[in-house]
């Protein structure tokens, strides 16, 4: 099974509401990243949080990391229809070289 697993698999909310996505992983990490993918496009990096950090903010994004529980969450505040996309967490491991492993993603639909 995959290193990172997102929850929920799909999320539908109204514009203006907050969206929270969770990610769990299995092994020790160097850092954890969140990416966004619009339909039919490549992934775009959103935010990176290192293993010694607990919380990070970037605009309307807030990421938390709990290494004791091997979990992370991504909060998007005041969501917009344009936030509709799939969101992936990615864990970065060091195994003689850095390797980035992705979860299955959360599909977010924001209704206008």
């Amino acid at each position: 099974s995959q290193q990172g697993e997102e929850d929920p698999q799909a999320l539908s909310i109204q514009e203006g509401e907050n969206a929270t996505m969770n990610c769990s992983y299995k092994t020790s990490i160097n850092n954890l990243q969140w990416y966004r993918q619009n339909s039919g496009r490549g992934l775009v990096h959103l935010i990176l949080i290192r293993s010694n950090e607990r919380e990070k903010h970037s605009g309307r994004l807030r990421v938390t990391l709990d290494t004791s529980k091997k979990s992370s969450s991504l909060l998007i505040t005041a969501s917009r229809a344009a936030d509709t996309a799939s969101y992936f967490c990615a864990t970065v491991l060091y195994t003689g070289g850095f390797k980035t492993i992705f979860g299955a993603g959360t599909r977010l639909f924001v209704k206008a």
Binding site: Q33, Y35, R41, L43, V44, L48, V92, F98, T100, A104
Partner: protein, 114 residues
């Protein structure tokens, strides 16, 4: 800057045919990766490279080969395509540094094997 460019964007193959996907990056990144994306499976790492002349296996390497003869290029080959290799393939690159940073992705190559 073009970033990460993948060619071709679309390809249809018959079972048993061979092909090569080309990934080129102009950011002087050390690390390059090939992933495949299937519905409900997210991205799975096929092979990666930590520098020119080096390659390593990822999660799902069987049926694929790679080469990194030049720093800016990372080739993914299918010697004998199978329907199970129908997927969208993404190439990515990153700067290594002392700690891995963000990956930059291409727009994907959609492969169908009949």
């Amino acid at each position: 800057n073009a970033g990460v460019t993948q060619t071709p964007k679309f390809r249809v193959l018959k079972t048993g045919q061979s092909m090569t996907l080309l990934c080129a990056q102009d950011m002087n990144h050390e690390y390059m990766y090939w992933y495949r994306q299937d519905p409900g499976m997210g991205l799975r790492l096929i092979h990666y490279s930590v520098g020119e002349g080096t390659t390593a296996k990822g999660e799902v390497p069987d049926g694929y080969n790679v080469s990194r003869l030049k720093k800016q290029n990372f080739l993914l080959g299918l010697e004998s395509a199978a329907p199970s290799q129908t997927s969208v393939y993404f190439c990515a690159s990153s700067y290594s540094g002392r700690a891995a940073g963000e990956l930059f992705f291409g727009e994907g190559s959609r492969l169908t094997v009949l």
